[in-house]
Symmetry: C2
Subunit: 216 residues, 2 copies
């Protein structure tokens, strides 16, 4: 397997954590989003969407979209599981994960921020307000969902890390990079700290990727 | 089960299709997004995120996020399946579904369009360009993914409708409402037509919901 990613991509960061939790190594390929590698013919041939992550399997099949890739990993490498047992519990974890994957991250990724400042000529201050608005909206809702639930444990669901935590950590990293106020999310930040105490999360963080020093 | 939705919500539309395909009826509750029902204390008590769809189970448990709700339906009512057999095939379908659920729809939903015109004071023309940009980007990538694959059949994956088709149809409805040019997506439009020939899709469309006449 070969994972196409970039140190600062939140979606690639998710998949790095998932691989680490599974204890599986994959070859990695750098797609430098700052210099436009994602738009190259070579990468478009891998993923026509021009986005990371993408995962090529040993037979050449390409999987796209971080959430789909992680579900694949969970189906093919079941231990340790990224989703709990039981359909209701699984729906809870997928729901929490998707508050980030569908309602926060898509609004704040590099392509969107570039469109705002490029095509739309939005100023830096207005772009930052946009960024912080969607983080605040999404994470405060997620905080309400976890703070009010007996299912929440050391992690978003119980005492083992899973798909919701995997989405949370890169989102928090990103939010901190844009100086978002996370004071209203004490439960999420407690979970974030519990995650970062684990090697699987720590080793996946942007600053620990080989390209961080050279292209950062 | 009770499904909180709104006729024009693409995410609620997805779940309506899924229920129809499963042949299961659910009680429905209208959350009028145009008049702000989603921000009411009553609805926030159901879903702190203030978004539809939300599904309450008979024991009172609330499930949020359309993709999580549909995975729940598929796990608890396996026939007919929304996902194919085999981890690679499932990853393909989830990947296609998420091109829409994570990269198109989040940028074009009502909350985002309202932020652009309200907070950001973006003009109508600029808002439409934004809308059409993300539709064009996302659907052209999805077209490349389906047009180039032997797995594509009458529907996005093989000859039975599934999760990718369920996401595609509401997105096309939405795109047509905003006069997007879909001429570059012949495969997707062929699949769209095949879907709309099925009662499960047709009956779920916005115009066939009871509230369409009164609040449209």
């Amino acid at each position: 397997m070969k994972l196409y990613g970039y140190f600062r991509s939140s979606a690639a960061f998710r998949v790095r954590i998932a691989f680490n939790l599974k204890g599986v190594e994959s070859e990695t390929a750098l797609v430098n989003l700052q210099t436009g590698d994602q738009f190259s013919d070579a990468f478009r041939a891998v993923n026509p969407q021009g986005r990371v992550p993408a995962l090529t399997l040993d037979d050449g099949t390409v999987l796209v979209q971080s959430m789909a890739i992680m579900e694949y990993l969970d189906e093919t490498i079941p231990d340790p599981p990224l989703l709990p047992k039981g359909a209701v519990a699984r729906a809870r974890v997928r729901g929490l994960a998707n508050v980030i994957a569908c309602d926060i991250h898509p609004l704040n990724n590099l392509a969107v921020l570039n469109y705002l400042t490029g095509e739309m000529k939005v100023g830096e201050e207005s772009k930052l307000r946009w960024y912080r608005h969607w983080v605040a909206e999404g994470l405060s809702a997620m905080e309400a969902l976890v703070a009010g639930s007996a299912e929440t444990g050391r992690f978003c669901h119980g005492d083992a890390p899973g798909l919701a935590d995997i989405c949370l950590v890169p989102q928090v990293f990103n939010a901190q990079r844009f100086d978002c106020d996370l004071g209203g999310c004490p439960t999420l930040m407690r979970v974030f700290d519990a995650c970062m105490a684990l090697d699987a999360f720590d080793a996946a963080q942007p600053g620990r990727q080989p390209e961080a020093a050279s292209v950062g």
